[in-house]
Symmetry: C2
Subunit: 203 residues, 2 copies
DNA sequence: CCAGATACTGTATTTTTATACAGTATCTGG
DNA sequence: CCAGATACTGTATAAAAATACAGTATCTGG
């Protein structure tokens, strides 16, 4: 598929956004007005180029007869994060395994899905390979399950706090709790777990 | 909101289906042709009635200027099933707790979500309150987790079969396996578990 | 029984909309 | 350097589309 020029890309994104915002594709006149063209043929010409390059299709002689090509709609869903290198931001694009088609309303406030590694939370029903829906909030309450960085290691534990004292509690007797004194040690909360999902070979 | 007459309902569902199928709303001429009206004003009149009753809105003087009213799109997602009475079909409307906005591609072949009751599968990471995505297939392979009816009781267990012998294996030492001889006992497989999700107070 | 609803027919007009055709200016890769 | 691309201007026409207005037939709830 051919590349789009910057202007073409701008026009394509606008068309796509208009379809979402209004429920139907725009007309040439609407495109002309939005981009300040003096001639309707500018709009027509750009749409024909986008169609020729495979980004959308035009249904001839039909009002608003514009369809986005398959796969060209907005990317829906949440990114799936596997392993995160020490020190690297979680949502760096380079670490995402892909996207899953999840309505963001399903898990309240979720920003990404994190692949579980290890069995420290087994007795909470969180197994290796599970996907945790994580909201990038940093204000956990005691009892919530968090994604935290301790000494640059990612960990998922249940959070308990009393004053300066934080306990990151595993739920597997084979793992020891992690105790952190916030006055003398650093602890980064990356997010709060708001959901879990499991499928395929992990069942 | 006023009730629709049968014909109005038929027309409304057709408009909605056309929006999904084509990516844009139909014209009056398309509606006229689809329903065999001899006059375009029949189409116009029905659309105005649907708008007046609050099912859609019309943007005047605009080609294809039809929008579904909020909440009138197709219900997306999967039904959530809580308790199922003995003998009752799972997907009877009356037992659904609601719908969750889940893309059906997320869990391959899923037909409904079943709320877990009991802890018999705890060591498989399936806890009370979890939602299991279930595909209404009745041909499980050994090792798969199934939803079955034994003596009219719903149960979720891992399926193992050798010849006529089926073992429905819990994964919690507090529960006994269920052994079934298919030659002499009846066993109904309602579906195969294809996914799990957990959120909210169950975390 | 009948007013008011639904469900259309019929005709016509206006506006919207797509698109054809002819052209210019600028940019850029070979 | 230049062919071929992008990014438009300008004008015009034809077809699509919405919608107005006038009407009939049937149904149904009060």
């Amino acid at each position: 598929m051919e590349e789009l020029s910057p202007r073409q890309r701008e026009i394509f994104l606008w068309v796509r956004e208009r379809i979402v915002a209004t429920g139907f594709p725009p007309t040439r006149a609407e495109l002309q007005a939005a981009f300040g063209f003096r001639s309707p043929n500018a709009a027509e010409s750009h749409l024909r180029t986008l169609a020729r390059k495979g980004y959308l299709s035009l249904q001839g002689g039909t009002a608003r007869g514009i369809r986005l090509a398959a796969g060209k709609g907005e990317a829906a869903g949440l990114p799936v994060i596997g392993r995160v290198a020490a020190g690297q931001p979680i949502l760096a694009e380079s670490v995402a395994e892909g996207f899953l088609p999840i309505d963001r309303g399903l898990f309240a406030g979720a920003d990404y899905l994190l692949r579980v590694q290890g069995m420290s939370m087994r007795d909470a029903g969180i197994l290796e390979g599970d996907l945790l829906a994580v909201s990038q909030r940093k204000d956990p309450r005691s009892g919530q399950i968090v994604v935290a960085r301790v000494d640059n290691e990612m960990t998922v534990k249940r959070w308990y706090q009393e004053g300066h004292q934080v306990i990151l509690m595993p739920e597997n007797p084979d793992f020891a709790p992690i105790t952190v004194d916030l006055r003398t040690q650093s602890l980064a909360v990356e997010g709060i777990v708001v959901g879990l999902l499991r499928r395929g070979e992990f069942l």
